[in-house]
């Protein structure tokens, strides 16, 4: 009980203006803040992003990883569209209603947001793409470094439900996100490299 009260108090304090409480912010949180502040200087919050991706999915029971590639489009208001072009055409739309899957332009399947496992992962991808650090901070503890060549971040889930699926996420990039590795709890791994073709910054 005392512990949870402490956490509550901590989070409560964090939301106050930093200047007021500068001394009381714990070391790790201060470092995270600093990191995010630097990241925010480097990459702006995106309103829309478009580009292509390559995905490499390593599944423990499979001798070879599964490769796929395609295009993606992110819009802060309407969500994420993930279109796999090869080896199999498939389009996924993630928004605040849930996930809709269509194959060959035909809607085949959808799940609503109440399915935690599936939705949280996609929400994380959207947030990483949009460089929405504050949302990510709600789910993960952030650590990492930033230098001339770029930045590397490691995200470890705070959320129990999320931790069942994801053990950690590594993201890296420079002006924009270029690489993301999802380390899954069962040892599987998803590596996605992005190449951004266009984006608009948040007004």
């Amino acid at each position: 009980m005392r512990c949870s009260r402490f956490c509550v108090a901590l989070i409560f304090l964090l939301s106050f203006p930093r200047a007021l409480l500068a001394d009381e912010i714990p070391h790790r949180e201060a470092k995270t803040r600093e990191l995010i502040a630097q990241l925010e200087q480097r990459i702006e919050l995106a309103e829309t992003i478009k580009g292509t991706f390559n995905q490499r999915k390593t599944i423990s029971v499979l001798p070879e990883p599964l490769h796929s590639h395609g295009t993606f489009g992110y819009d802060r208001r309407t969500g994420l569209e993930w279109e796999t072009l090869a080896p199999i055409a498939n389009r996924l739309v993630f928004d605040d209603q849930g996930i809709r899957q269509s194959v060959d332009g035909q809607a085949v399947w959808e799940i609503d947001v109440s399915q935690p496992a599936v939705v949280t992962v996609t929400r994380v991808i959207s947030s990483v793409l949009a460089a929405d650090w504050s949302t990510l901070q709600d789910y993960f503890s952030l650590s990492g470094s930033i230098d001339e060549q770029g930045w590397q971040l490691r995200l470890e889930p705070d959320d129990v439900v999320l931790a069942e699926i994801v053990s950690a996420i590594a993201v890296s990039g420079n002006r924009v996100l270029s690489r993301m590795t999802l380390l899954e709890a069962n040892g599987d791994r998803t590596e996605i490299t992005f190449s951004v073709h266009g984006s608009t910054e948040q007004p």
């Binding site: 498939n90 899957q101 496992a117 504050s134 999802l182």
Partner: protein, 848 residues
């Protein structure tokens, strides 16, 4: 006793007989026995029913559905749902800031937990839930297929282009792979995965940051639900919960918002409102009546004399009803008690007649004025009792338990009050009335007023009244009764809106529309549900329905489970099946053998309702199971987010195809029930008028209409005015009209009796007739006036009530009583302008 024999001599004889002390003592013994009986019954734990449904006839409780459920089943379902609704509360804690909203939710949930008032507080989402889920269903996975998967497996050709294969591959090559890849060997086509998604109740809330969360508008909502540890109707428990909620709410950080929903909140509000209204309206009316009586009679004892008949009548009625009925409804108590309100007439007529005696004769010191007053009013109150009892007893014949209880209650109450006036009051009043009390001035004032009162004898007045009556009747012919039960919602708009907001944010199941499915055994029940299931799925697909919850979503019938497994075997897990094709497509053909082995190893045990009930997984939806009852098993199918009216019709027609599936539209059912009773009450009011008219005609001959005219026109006009003024009119307005009839009858009968007495006095005993201000009719009219004022104070004040039922009742009484008071003297001329009683008119009327 024949009414005809109620001639003055007879009435004197009866009054003298009743005023013997021994009769009074016998009645005292009866009243004491009643008191003991009531107290004993309360100690035995006699319960008062508060469920509105208990007032309704049993046969028609399922209302709209074509085939009625058995009474027992319908009662059981009602109780089941009431308990379900009563035992839960839902809170949405929100904040613009995601993190703050979690802080607020945590603080709120902790505060609720600390109060130790709840059986459980479900807020944070843990690992446990998903693990349990899996443990129950995973071993049966090959028996479980979503509807779409089943159809596709049965129809499509087994080749590379098979839609299920394509979809499964697509998910494996997408970011969603993390959700499906871990079970690649156990569930290669992800059919169990999709089944789970299909079966789980839909909700716009998802688990985030450890809370069920929904982002909507610019706020982040966290859902906390609690199960209560006590009775939601228990006042102490309500209070404790309210305190705990207030404390928890005051601990919320700035900017956080709380939305609450739960039966308890409404029940607590209703109780608080009733308490407050009893203390304001109730106290106000008691105070008003007390002041009026003390002002008029200048004696505190008269206050007691006025209320004693009501109190004893109420006690008498309560004792008899407790012995007759297994449980007495609270509404019976309230309405019954208000109908006894007519009984204050008896006291007031006695007290006014008693005071009138002092004006008539103040020299004869040997005479007991109480007895003399009783002799004078005996015919009036007896006939008043008979006619009111007749009118109220007419309700008793209506086939609905609530009215029957009320009829018994009010008839017994009136009888008790009458007995108290006749047997006790003369003994309890002083031998000599006082001469200097304002009642005499009031009588004199009213006498002057009455002398100039318009009368139907004048053609102009007759035309005006006839026009009013015709206009009123015309308005009534246009009248649309509104029987919607939602009109009777006692909760304030703000609470209802909050409820609606929670309902729309959570998109929870609709507690007032549901299916009840019955069958001989579990398997038959599941098969019957599955038929319904398919049709409901289509409504969900076309967005006419948001979701539905049924046991068969979790537990398919054995037949379906066998088909599912057979499909899995034939299409997925053969040597050239879809699983093998999938392994080739992802470049690992050697996995096919392992997949087939896992399928072969699976014993394929059937999942049963018992498994589901015993599992943690089924726990959250246990309420769908009604269990075995009347040699059958029953279940509920609940729906959420019904699109529109036509969808309701479609849902109802789904039940129409099978006589063991019932669709219940509770709002519609209760509303149509209220409509039925309102119609019956209309008929019974008509019959009550007819019966009373016959009774009066027996005694008064053709002038009976003069007595009936005032309450009849007043009733028509008050309904017409309400309708014209845009108020809704329903069964409760009609109930109030019974009170108007009772008071109106008394007014008419007393006025008529007093003028008869007057004329007889003129002819018979000249010593009693003084004419002028001491005129008996003026005292009678004073009594009628005071009765009208007390009734207005007692029930007219209810029009200030925020409880719709009481408000409707009050406003009708208000209009009706004012109408009766104004109209009664129009039909019965008691005092001519010269101050004498209209003996000539009496003679004319008597010869009619």
């Amino acid at each position: 006793m024949s009414i005809h024999s109620l001639a003055p001599q007879t009435s004197t004889r009866f009054a003298r007989l009743f005023s013997r002390p021994s009769f009074g003592l016998v009645w005292l013994a009866v009243v004491l026995c009643c008191a003991l009986w009531v107290v004993a019954a309360l100690f035995r734990g006699y319960s008062f029913d508060t469920r509105i449904l208990a007032l309704l006839p049993e046969s028609s409780q399922s209302g709209a559905s074509e085939q009625a459920m058995s009474t027992q089943l319908s009662t059981r379902v009602d109780e089941h749902l009431a308990e379900l609704a009563g035992q839960r509360m839902i809170f949405l804690v929100s904040h613009r800031d995601r993190r703050q909203s979690a802080v607020a939710a945590a603080g709120f949930a902790d505060a609720l937990n600390e109060s130790q008032l709840f059986a459980g507080v479900q807020g944070r989402v843990g690992k446990q839930q998903t693990a349990n889920w899996r443990r129950t269903f995973f071993p049966h996975r090959f028996n479980l297929l979503s509807r779409e998967a089943r159809q596709t497996l049965a129809m499509a050709d087994i080749d590379q282009q098979h839609p299920l294969l394509q979809q499964a591959l697509a998910r494996l090559y997408s970011p969603m792979a993390s959700a499906v890849a871990p079970n690649l060997l156990d569930d290669p086509l992800q059919l169990f995965f999709t089944w789970q998604l299909d079966a789980a109740p839909k909700s716009p809330f998802s688990a985030e940051n450890g809370w069920l969360t929904r982002e909507y508008g610019d706020r982040v909502y966290r859902l906390i639900s609690v199960s209560l540890a006590g009775d939601p109707y228990d006042l102490d428990y309500q209070q404790a919960i309210n305190l705990a909620l207030d404390r928890a709410q005051s601990g919320l950080p700035a900017g956080a918002q709380l939305l609450s929903s739960g039966l308890l909140i409404h029940a607590a509000h209703g109780a608080a409102q009733a308490r407050q209204e009893i203390s304001t309206i109730g106290l106000g009316s008691l105070l008003g009546i007390g002041l009026l009586l003390i002002y008029c009679f200048r004696r505190a004892r008269f206050l007691l004399l006025a209320f004693l008949p009501i109190a004893t009548g109420w006690l008498f009625a309560l004792a008899i009803c407790i012995s007759l009925f297994d449980s007495l409804h609270l509404v019976t108590l309230v309405f019954g008690a208000s109908l006894i309100g007519v009984a204050i007439d008896y006291s007031l007529h006695y007290l006014c007649a008693y005071s009138a005696g002092s004006a008539a004769i103040n020299t004869d010191n040997n005479r007991h004025h109480g007895k003399a007053a009783l002799i004078r009013i005996m015919p009036g109150i007896s006939l008043g009792l008979l006619s009111s009892a007749l009118a109220y007893a007419a309700q008793g014949a209506a086939p609905f338990p609530g009215l029957r209880q009320m009829a018994v209650f009010s008839v017994c109450g009136l009888l008790g009050a009458w007995l108290t006036v006749v047997l006790w009051l003369p003994h309890l009043s002083p031998r000599q009335p006082r001469l200097d009390t304002p009642i005499h001035r009031l009588a004199a004032l009213l006498a002057r007023l009455l002398a100039r009162w318009p009368n139907v004898a004048s053609a102009r007045v007759a035309i005006v009244l006839a026009t009013l009556a015709v206009l009123g009747l015309y308005q009534l012919s246009q009248l649309d009764f509104n029987d919607d039960v939602r009109q009777l919602q006692t909760s304030p708009q703000a609470l209802l809106q909050e409820d609606a907001q929670v309902q729309s944010l959570t998109r929870a199941v609709d507690p007032s529309h549901y299916f009840v499915v019955s069958a001989a055994d579990e398997q038959a029940l599941l098969e019957r549900e599955e038929k319904l299931h398919g049709a409901l799925d289509e409504l969900v697909d076309t967005d006419q329905l948001y979701d539905f919850q049924a046991i068969s979503k979790w537990v398919p019938s054995f037949a379906t489970q066998e088909q599912n497994r057979a499909l899995n075997q034939r299409v997925v897990h053969t040597r050239e099946g879809l699983a093998t094709m999938l392994t080739r497509a992802i470049g690992s053909p050697n996995l096919a053998e392992q997949m087939q082995a896992r399928f072969a190893e699976n014993p394929g045990d059937k999942l049963t309702i018992t498994d589901w009930l015993a599992s943690e997984a089924g726990h959250s939806q246990r309420f769908l199971w009604l269990g075995e009852f009347e040699q059958q098993v029953h279940s509920l199918v609940l729906v959420a987010g019904i699109g529109d009216e036509p969808t309701l019709g479609q849902l109802a027609s789904l039940a129409g195809d099978d006589d063991q599936i019932y669709f219940v539209d509770k709002v519609e059912a209760i509303s149509s029930l209220l409509e039925g009773h309102r119609r019956q009450l209309q008929i019974w009011i008509g019959m009550a008028y007819g019966a009373v008219l016959a009774l009066l005609a027996w005694r008064y001959g053709r002038v009976a209409w003069r007595i009936m005219a005032a309450p009849a026109i007043a009733s028509v006009l008050s309904l017409a005015i309400l309708d014209w003024g845009g108020f809704t009119v329903n069964i409760f307005n009609l109930l109030a009209l019974l009170l108007v009839l009772g008071i109106g009858l008394d007014a008419g009968i007393f006025l008529w009796e007093s003028r008869l007495g007057e004329s007889e006095n003129h002819q018979g005993d000249p010593a009693e007739s003084t004419g002028g201000e001491g005129n008996q009719a003026s005292y009678t009219w004073a009594a009628v006036t005071m009765a009208a004022i007390t009734t207005l104070l007692a029930f007219g004040l209810l029009s200030l009530s925020a409880t719709p039922v009481l408000h409707q009742f009050g406003i009708t009484v208000l209009l009706g009583i004012v109408g009766v008071w104004c109209l009664a003297p129009c039909f019965i001329k008691t005092i001519c302008e010269d101050g004498t009683s209209p003996a000539k008119l009496v003679a004319t009327v008597a010869s009619e």
